[in-house]
Structure formats: structure tokens, C-alpha cells
Amino acid sequence: MSDVEYSVKQFILKEFLPGEDPSELTSSTPLITGGILDSLATMKLVMFLEDSYGVKFEAHEVDPDHLDTVADIARLVAAKKG
């Protein structure tokens, strides 16, 4: 698990799934299509990623194609960081 993946996972567990067994959240758990990330949570996550990694997101990237799993998110952040 990469650093980005780890920190995204910790953020999601802390912000949106307090009290949840951490092992339940894997790199491939569907977040948007699974109902964990609604519009509010997604925007919170985007803000977190922008602040933490100095990257900028665009509105059309906020969808299950790009942000549905921890692995997807980490891949997008890595691509943005170049």
C-alpha cells in the first residue's frame, strides 16, 4: 500500500467511518458506488487531497471513474503529481 493510499484510507476511516473495522476498507472497496462517499464526503476528500498533496482537481474528475476506490484515488493523485 502506497503512502497516498494509506493516508486516504486513514482519512476516510476517521472522517466517514468512525468505529468501523479498518480491515473492512480495502484498496478496492467501492466508495462512491458503494454509498460511502456522497457529494459532501467527496468534496471533503477532494479538499483534503488538494491541501495534502498540492494538486488541483476538476469538477469532471469527481466521479466513480476516478475516485471510486482508494487505489483509484491514489492513482489519480500520483498522475497529477507527475
Binding site: P18, E24, G35, V55, P64, L76
Partner: protein
Amino acid sequence: MTTSTAAAAATPRAEPAVPRGGIGTAALVAILVQLGLVGLVLRQFQIESAAFRRLFLLVFCGFALHALLPVRYRLPFFLLLSLAGVGLVLGPENAAWLVIIGIALIGICHLPIAYLLRVSLLVVAGGVLAAQRANWIASPWSEAIWPILGSMFMFRLIVYMYDLRHETEPVSPWRSLSYFFMLPNVCFPLFPVVDYKAFRRNYFDQDAFETYQTGVDWIARGILHLLFYRLVYYHFTLAPSEVHNVGDLLQYLVSNFLLYLRVSGLFHLVVGMLYLFGFRLPETHHLYLLASSFTDFWRRINIYWKDFMLKIFYYPAYFQLKRLGATTALILATLFVFTMTWFLHAYQWFWLRGTGLLVSQDVLFWTILGVLVVVNALHESRHGRDRTLGKRSSSWRSRLALSARTLGTFVVICILWSFWTAQSVSEWLSLWTGLGVGFSMKAVVAAIVLLGVMVIPLIAGPTMATVKKPADRRKLWRSLVATALLLLVMAGMGMDPVYSKLGATIETTMQSLRSGHLSRLDNANLERGYYENLLHVDRFNSQLWEVYMKRPTKLLDVETGPLKQYTGGFEQYELKPSFVYSNHGTSITINRWGMRDKDYERVPPPGAYRMAMLGPSSVMGWGVSDGETFEALLEDRLNREASSGNRRSYEILNFGVPGYEPPQELFNFEKALGFAPNAVIYVATGRESYRAARYVADAAREGRPIPYDFLRQAAEKAGVVRGMDEAAAEKRLAPYQKEILSGIYARIASESRQRGIVPVYVFLPQVREGLWQEETPEALQAAEGAGFVVIDLSAVYQGRPLASVRVSEYDDHPNRLGHQLVAERLYQSFKAKADAIFRDASNADRAAK
């Protein structure tokens, strides 16, 4: 690297190079058997239109072939099947127009010019089509294609262009064309806004058997929703004027909201069918009756709409506004979404119906819901909401809180919904006034629904199930057996020999569920709506809405336009003398006296037996040509075949006026007296006392003078005054319905007798299903009591499908065959009662009286 290229590089989950799609023989047979059961249930319960049931046959055969094809041929096959469906439902000419327009629009999306130019061209093309839709510019195609063309392109073009702008993968023409013409759409003008990326992303992305089985599960679930909808629609809905006590109010609120089951049922049916072709789309609704907050409700009901609004409006607005701070961005973006939701409903209405929609309740409803969602969202952004990755234990205290929140949300939504669907704000306010204490059995059922909303969260805990684990084979087969059993039960329950053994109540209920027709309330609205503004039609969740949608606007122009003239009297209007209309071989000729009939002299010729026939549009002959009305046919037959002594001729004068209610017939009767009839034939067509009271209520609250003492006194006794709300006035006059109708009948009968005129009463059934006949025994009794010679034609259409005797799907008047049947039966009845009907004083005597 720019963000776009970064995204391109990071495109996380491209489609599998070779999508999976294989299925074993046993699994395929199991799916086909279930689909066979679905077909049986659709037929047993006459689900949706006949066109849909034909389309389902195409889906069934298409699925069997599609599942066996190599995966690379499946998308082109699906497109061909979709186009075949369009042809099957719309006919070759209309289908060709629809496909040509559609391809032109899709072509514009892909022109090799700048993106903004393409968008501008689409706006121009949309503007031209809108002008045609509004009939400002003539179109060479039938009006029938508009709702379908609208539902295919009005939202999907927006999504498609949005995704094209950011598309990183090559576009497949098969996929693009399939996206717009997708198979079940041609039968469903109310179609979910399918997201293009979701349509592309999840195509055969998991085990085909699991995908197909989910499709069948959802189709079965959709049918169940539709049957529950029918139960509510036919048996539980009330008019605002029928809400007299707290129980009625509860029944009204709950049943009114549950009418939404139709939309959720249809969406399940639609998406279930798409699953059969490998499109594994998200759920369209998720336990929306169990939402525990307004944000939760917004997330669970019509999920595709919510996703569309987030993608096109919310996120772009949020990103633009986030420099103002997260809270401000959230508030403004959410309010923007609700404003656009209101606007897009009006936009949708325009494409489907061809008219504008600006109703105060719409604005207020979306404003209130928007504010509630903003408040809820702010609360959630600070305090979070309950989520879980699986089943998590929760305390009784938290479950109680969840239960209370769920009940509270349900009640508020029911109230808001009643406001949205009310015909006016004042009508909605009348619901809450003058409520007595009382609780009918139906209100108890509504209370049980509330109880369920309260108890389920207590048992189930957090209801927003989140992540679904992939089903294993054993679970899949279990789900298959459960769905097959459900379908079997539904098919069995729909069989006459089964439900007829379950007692009279169940038999009657099942019979009502076995056909799609308008409820008694919508029938009343439909009758009334002929002469009213279309905006009063219940919006977005009503079958009545669809009836209006199918009705050609030109027909309405004739109905409401030059055919009648306003008189300013109690009767309000009459047929315009000497009006002539001709269209597509149908002619309507009004004579110089304002009758849809031949030109008669005011004084009958010597030896003629003259009858004046009073009644509404079915007597006037709406939907058939001159000379084809049962009045004209009966007159011809009497003159041709009757051999009653010394009579030389028979005349029947048609005083039928579309939309006339019983009180207006008093005016018509007086007019008829001026033509010295030997007999007056009053034709009644159902719900007489309700319609009579409603007309008096309208006259009183609108301050129109009521020239008949007994009617005026009834309004005064009931306390109906000028300016009173419609529902409140009807509610007050409800106890006087019988008195009003009996008074009308008594006046016509006694004044006829005094003049030596024979009063004849004919009961003519309506050409539609429903509960319109519920007042018939009372009306017949009242007519008999008043002294009419009564002829009951209730069974005149018996043994014939209604579709064979009515004008069309959108017009419930008897057609030519219907009129022929009525004329034949009337002739026989007249012969049987000749002694009572054909006796008279001389014309001269009657004229003197």
C-alpha cells in the same frame, strides 16, 4: 502536466479488453424461464401499454440471441434490437423520422469543429425542434414521436456532450447510438436519466449470470411496485374535497406520496431490462420510504436524477465557488441544484407535452425542499452521518433515534408532496380545515404504513446499506429461486380461478389490479379537464398526465376553441350555432339552433313524434362524424322500421353539449321545450350526483347567479359562498349531493309531465374502466322516483374489449361501433317500452302548454 492530461494518464479502470459475457446453459435456461414468467405476469395484469408488452416479447427473444452471441457482436445487436423496438412501437414512418432526427443530433456532437461551436449548433437545433414542438413551425412527422424523442435526447444530450468534452477514450458509434436509442425507451417517456459513463463503464464488467439475474430481480421488483401503485391508486386515493376527518387526512397524505411507486416501478423495469443486455447500471431508487433525513431522501429517490444534477450542476458550481469557503460553496451549489431541478422539470414537461409549466407549487416545493436539504447538509458536514461497510451493531438508543428521524422525514415528505401535487395552494390549505374525528379502515392501512416506516429502522438498524459484496454462486441461485417464486405467486394471483376462490373482497381487488385504467378521481379530472387549463393536470406521477400527453394538442384546440360559445348565463356555454368543422374525414356540423344535428324547424311537422335528447359529449357524438351518433342512428332506424300506427315520422333533436353537467341540463331542458317535443330523453353517464354538486359548488363560489331556487338554497344551506376554495366548497356540498340530483331529476320529470311530455331517462355507461359507476344505482333510483321511464344500458358494451368501442387510448368516448351498439340497444329498449314512451298529446296542445 495539466490536470486533464493527468486524468487521462490516470484513467483508472478502462473497460476490460474482452468483456466477460459467457453464461452456462443451466443459468441461461433459468433466466429464460423467469423471463417467461415475467411475460405471463405482464399479460395477466396488463402492465403498462399493449405496445410495451409487444416490446417485452422482443426483449425476450432478443435476450436469448444476445446472450449466445460473441461479445463483440452484442453491442451492434443491441442497437439493432433498439431500432427494431422503435419501429415496432412507432411504425416505420415515425420511427424513420425519430432515427433521422436523432442521428442528426448525435452527428452534431461529433462534427470536427470546436466544442463550443458544436454546443451552439445543438442549441440552435434544439431551438428549431422546440419551435416545432410548440407548433410554431409545422413538422412533417406525427406528434406521437415528440415525447419519445424528448425523453431520448432532452437530458442525455447534455450528459453526452459533458462527457465528450472530457472523454479520453475513442468513441464507439455502436455505443453512442445505443445510448440514445436504448431499447426500452420507446415505451417510456418517463425514463431515468442514464449516465453515459455509467452506461459505458459497467458494460459486462462482471459475471454475466449475476448481471442478468439482477436484471430479472429488478424487473420483478418493478412489477411489484406497479401493482402496489395500482392498489393505492384505485382504492386509497382521495380528492381533497373527500377529506373530512383526521383519518381521511392521513389516508390522503400517505396514498398521495405512495403514487410515486409508479415511477420507481417503471424505473426498475427499465433498468432491469438494460441489465439483460449487459448494462450493469446503478440502482435507480433505494428504500426511499425509509430515508432518515432530507439529504438521505435526495440520495435515495431517483438516484439517476441526483447523479445527473451533481455531475452537471453541483460539482461545477462547487468548484467555482469553493474559494468562498466550503460552507458558502455548499449552500450556493445546493440551492443552484434545486433551482435547476425546478427549471428542468418545466423543460421536461415542455418536451413531453408541448406546453409551458409555471405553477406556484412547483417553485415553492423545490424551494422548501432545497432549503431543507441545505440545512441537513450543513448539519451532516459538521456532525457526519451514519455509514457502514457492512452490518454493524448499533444500540437501541441509536435505533430509536433513527426510527424517529425516519418517521419524521416520511411525514414531512408526505406533507410536502401533497402540497406539490395539489391543484392550488388554497386547495391544499382546505385539507387542513374543518377536520372531524374519524378513522376508516383505509386510514388504518395508512397508519400501518407509518408504523412500518417506524418499525423497520428499529429492526434493521442503519438502513443505508453501503458496500455490496460480490454475490457468490450459492447466493445467486437463492436470489433466482426467490424471484422465480415471487413471479409465480404474482402469475398465480392474476389467474381468475385462483383469486375468485379467495373471497369477494380479494376477488374485486384483484380484478381491479388486473388492468391499467384511470381511477375514479382521475376520471373526474379528465372529464373536467376537457375545458380547463392543462396545467391543472396532476403533474409527474399520474396516469392522467400520460393520457393528456398522448392527446393531440390540435384536438384540444377544437374542444376548447370554436366549438362552443360563452353565454354568460348559469349554463356558461353552448354549442356555437352554424359551426362547421372537418378534419381527416370527421365532420362536426352544428345547426342554426346550436344542436349537432340536421336542421329542424322549431315547430314539428304534423304527425311527427319529436324527442329531445339531453346529455354530454357522448350524446353530442364527440369522436364520430355527423350522422354516426347513436341519436342519428336511432332516428334513422325508427323512421325506417317502426310501424307504430299512424305516425308519419320520428325526430330526435340532439341537445348534447360536451362537458355539460346535470345542472346545465336544466337550461338545456328549457331550451328543448321551445321545440315542442313529445318526449325528453335525459342521458346520464355516471357520477351524476357528484358532478351535479360540484357544478353548483363552482357556481356559488364563483358568484354566478343560480336561477333555480332549490340549487341556490342547497348552496346556502351548505354555507358555500363566493370566493371559497374549490375543495372546501365541494366538501361542504357533499352531504347535499343526492338532494341536488333528485331536485334536478324531479324538476325535469314533473315539468315534462305537466306539459304532456314523456320524460325518458337513459343510463349510458362510460367507455372506460374504473369506479365511475359507483353512483349508478342511486342515480337510477332517483330517476325512477322522479317519474322517468328508465332505460338502463349499463351492459351495452359487455363482452367487447373497451379499446374496440372507444375513440382512442387518449379519448374515452364511444367510437362509431360504440354508437352503433348504443343505437341498437336503445332501439330495442324503445320497442320494449313503446307504450310508455310513444304516447302524447298533440303537438299543438304541447305548444300551447
